[in-house]
Symmetry: C3
Subunit: 504 residues, 3 copies
């Protein structure tokens, strides 16, 4: 059937594709393979195709793109493969790439097509970004969650279905769909080929791979070619624009909840206010991105990712997809804030108690797995260079001193809650490590989790990015202080009860 | 005084109305009646008039509008009444319509004017939309809340003022203003004429009707002409634009809170990210609305309401104001998710326990009042047709399988909480159905309500529309799991207390 | 070193400053002093300079600005000082102003420069705004919090680090950095000169003042020249635009949290919907601001601050920086809603119990310190004039009646919670006023605080500005009613425990 499909597609392409002239005639050259794809998919999925037509991928060939000056270049290889150099980046240029590596490759319209385009595919042109991203904590978001027994215990306690019988609750192991819908939506699923399915289509029967964990665009997705991550988490399909990745809405998809309220904090910060008020005057597509000319306030990307230069052409910050290059502290996700881990694979960490945690349960950092003060200093300097483009040294120093203090005090407030919980375990009011039980499943343990995962995190984000309310009444210090009182109150009730029962 | 008012208005109109030439001279023909209105109100309420002047109502006559092609038409009658055909839709064309049906009609400047313009008035030109809306759950939002004893018990427990004396709380019946300010702000108030009031105005004494429940634009408003609903809930006065109704901010007015976080979920979804990032390039006023040309990502209206076509002119989805036409499941507002009810009037439903609920208290659906699997399939297909315009079949099937699973697991998590509550009732720790008491007024009952009304709903919206955090830490599975532990914890405390007291 | 710095700066200015012609040549005249500043700072802080170049300050001289018609004027002095009249408002025109009053003045490049520009500096041209602002509660936000023992007790209980030992929690006094990062971020810090620091710069060693509480732009900041407030809280540096101050994002910086959710309520209100949907068509820079021409829906500034006129030139509302001029009620921050205080300095208030509170603990207003019914009426009228530009009298009256009722019922719901707390104190379940202990530090007291500070406030904002969900399930009446039940539940548990212990 193959060649017929191809012929039919070519026919459809010529006649139906939005009624326009052949794409190749009017603009950049399209490969024959991509022309085949569009022959059907322009009609089947018009939204995707319209989006792609607006992309740079559809308007410039890699061969031209590679000739740009260093600062203007959006691709990082020195030379693009010959067969890709002189056609625009159409469907086939990505979905037909590296077929042998992709376990999701299938025969489709005479081509070997794969569903899941991966960082390894994108690395064909964007090699530096892909290799930086590979060292980014985010690319390990699936693995670090799935293979760390401590974190995974938290995941199971959240995602498992509970039931209640005979005055007791019980917890089922979570199913794969719930995982994919919950934590792994952002952390990334494991995409595996589970077989093949034949489906009736408008062109007759066709076979497609059955994929588990699909759809997903989580940042640490395990891909069918063995790579980790999804560039589309931020560079939204099928425009893949730098504009969208630079706007804060992209980050908001995963960085909004009480555990990591970065977007909410930004939105109410002075920086967010500037973006919301006058950001529509800015240029989000310019490469390089020029302070003062292209924008007059930062978005997430400005401080954490982008290549930023002055109007004189001086680089204020280099582009990085290892997104903690400008971050001395890791302020969320773990029980205590601590210096960033040296390796993006955090499953190798062990504290003195043998847990895969970067600090002890009482807060002391496990220094051999974490960056040292010098590395922290380098990262702080990299971030401050961005700050100094708009702020004086005194302003910046004052801000960082305040933030360092907040790291200290929020860790202390977490320690107070931890001591209450440890006391509860010791005195039999709850069952934890000593009893070889989950440390996340009881009511008091869940209150403890909120102390660090919601309230300490929120307070730290507010401090880092000046989102005032989030450090006070919006999941900030108000809750840090209230939660300790409620935990202590509960423990006293409970222990009096235990004491009463002992007396009887 | 009548004719003097009219003369004076005409005089004011000619001279004062923003200093421009008479409206009729420069643009579309305005009726004499509307000219009279504007004579005073252009100066009295300049904001409304400016808004209306930007509306299509002010720029095209129904007679012209009715001649458009089927896909381009914004009005659905085949023929407009002769007296309305050749003037633009000004003040009088709506406020003076159907005076005999309107109990709020009053004599004003020689005309019979009514305050509250209703879906029955709008139906003069927009008949299909009005009759679809009449079958929409939303038009019954007032009635379904007010006349269902179960729901109304919830309303009273929320809106009533409480007091505390002698270690006991007591609950007053809520007053009408509180109802109007609270639940019925969105559900719609009952607008009733309570008399007439004479007021001194700039043109001397004038009489106006006294309306209870006014102002209000709730979706299920009971109108003085006997109709239900308010088109202005979404088509904001006095521009009545399709643009505003298509933007998600409109929906956010009532679909933001923890009970129905649709807007919040959308805002952090990939779809919302696309809208926020590049939506300013889209055309929100185009009819029909063309995928790829007018927009490249969905808003609420795209998936739930709008007529969507491809650039080839093929309809992907038909316009509907029966807003669950593309929804197989009803995922919020009730204790368990269930197939949509067959009738928009849900007060007729009775479960086996005799309650006006679409499921038993333990979750089994009351099938005779709900759509069957085939109807669910049709609605699913209608929605999936929209999805497929941008996504492959495999993507869409994967997404829906995940959503169906989330419906199942969130119902199970609600069942666990319900079993705790039933146990509390059975063992005397709280008073509920068996004691013929409210099931919403005690602390433990309110925690149970949050299980379904906040946490299960939120998790389902997150699953339906990929708003990751809202299915995990932002009122999602984290709270579903924590709430069960806290309810069980409370119950064990309480029952030990009961036991202690029994022993004494 | 001085003159060398100046020479070098002049050299840099000519050559480097964005490679353009001298600013003075191409546009408005720049002072020699500001030219010196830009010589270095255009390269050092390009973001600030770019922002300033877009400001009106950089494009018009005060001498020209003062000649505008009354309604168009943005400055309020009758005559500007001669030395400022004929140059644009550059760096030096603000940072070198009033050197003798500023304790933060230091020698820098041959000039006496100060870091912190204050309302007293701005008053040089904007005298009316500065003196109105001085009578605004906001300018007293620091003092009213710091010097009121009741409020300060709340601040300490939120900001202090807690620890847990021997079954007891203890509270440290908060450090200055935490205060600055928390409550005083919005309320404003006290900026004090703590010494001088010599720093190596690109131009050699230079001395700078060491400032405590810096950076900060809180509305009630205590400045080194003795003034209170920060114009930059709303008029963002260094564009100082009226556009940003008029957009709601500015207000969101401090009015978002659960204690004062004004922005959130606005965002989901019909008004916010209009702004979000069509606000990009409006003119935010026009002075005066014309209803219907420049905008067709209100932002925060429209109702509370701005000079608003009709197209006929009639003033609907006068500009005011005493931001409660149109507000009869003070609806947040205190235990009960009450008429606004007569003086912006609220530390002078004493209720019958001797507490610095505008009501008794049981809600009765301390009338001698509050505006009377007539003053309330004037403020209500001032606000209603704005409403009436777009709404009929019946609509507006209905809305205000509903709001007044909500003030009454939310106060009643706070009273119920207060009675529970008073009972707890009386019966020894908690320690409060009678025991001379904090009324904010125990778990039950923190629940009481949430009753008024979060839930009653939120309900009132929702009522005032029609943000439906915030009056019901989003921190509204649902929580008001649930919290009372939980407090009563806790108290009954606790007292049974006390009783049991007494029996033993």
């Amino acid at each position: 059937m193959k060649s017929e499909v191809r012929l039919l597609a070519a026919f459809l392409f010529a006649g139906l594709w939005t009624g326009e002239k052949s794409f190749a005639e009017e603009s950049a050259p399209l490969s024959e393979e991509s022309e085949t794809c569009l022959g059907c998919h322009a009609a089947l999925n018009p939204g995707i195709v319209a989006d792609w037509k607006k992309s740079l991928h559809a308007r410039i060939t890699p061969g031209e793109a590679v000739k740009k000056d260093r600062l203007e270049r959006r691709i990082s290889v020195e030379k693009v493969p010959d067969d890709l150099a002189n056609v625009v980046v159409g469907c086939a240029e990505c979905h037909n790439l590296n077929p042998e590596r992709h376990r999701d490759t299938f025969e489709h319209a005479d081509s070997k097509v794969h569903v899941v385009v991966t960082p390894s595919d994108c690395a064909t042109c964007h090699s530096a970004e892909a290799s930086q991203y590979d060292q980014n904590l985010m690319s390990h978001a699936h693995v670090n969650l799935r293979k760390n027994p401590v974190y995974h215990g938290l995941v199971d306690s959240v995602n498992g279905v509970q039931s209640f019988d005979d005055m007791k609750t019980s917890l089922q192991r979570p199913d794969a769909e719930t995982h994919a819908d919950s934590c792994f939506y952002c952390h990334g699923t494991a995409i595996e080929v589970k077989g093949t399915k034949v489906r009736e289509t408008s062109l007759g029967e066709m076979a497609f791979p059955i994929l588990s964990g699909w759809p997903n665009q989580g940042v640490g997705r395990l891909n069918p070619d063995g790579s980790m991550g999804a560039c589309t988490a931020c560079h939204t399909r099928h425009r893949f624009s730098i504009e969208m990745a630079r706007k804060p809405f992209t980050c908001s998809e995963c960085h909004t909840g009480p555990d990591v309220p970065a977007y909410k904090v930004y939105a109410v910060s002075k920086h967010g206010n500037i973006f919301s008020s006058v950001g529509d005057e800015w240029s989000f597509n310019a490469v390089p991105w020029v302070i003062g000319r292209d924008f007059t306030g930062p978005t997430c990307a400005t401080c954490h990712v982008s290549l930023i230069i002055t109007e004189d052409g001086e680089a204020v910050a280099e582009r990085t997809h290892r997104m903690n290059d400008r971050l001395p502290w890791r302020i969320f996700g773990l029980i205590y804030a601590h210096p960033h881990p040296t390796s993006a694979d955090t499953t190798v960490i062990r504290n003195k108690a043998g847990l895969a945690l970067p600090t002890e349960l009482t807060g002391e950092p496990v220094t051999e797995f974490l960056i040292d003060a010098k590395a922290q200093g380098n990262r702080r300097t990299a971030m401050q260079n961005v700050c100094l483009a708009c702020h004086s040294r005194g302003w910046v120093d004052g801000q960082f001193a305040r933030f360092d203090n907040t790291i200290k005090t929020t860790n202390q407030m977490t320690l107070a809650a931890t001591r209450i919980l440890i006391t509860a375990w010791e005195k039999g009011a709850a069952k934890g490590l000593a009893q070889n039980e989950s440390i996340f499943d009881e009511a008091i343990e869940k209150k403890w989790v909120e102390q660090w995962l919601f309230f300490a995190n929120s307070t730290r984000f507010a401090s880092a990015m000046f989102g005032a309310d989030y450090g006070v009444f919006a999941n900030g210090r108000w809750y840090l202080s209230k939660n300790i009182q409620e935990m202590a109150d509960w423990l006293r009730f409970k222990l009096e009860k235990v004491r009463d029962e002992t007396k009887e």
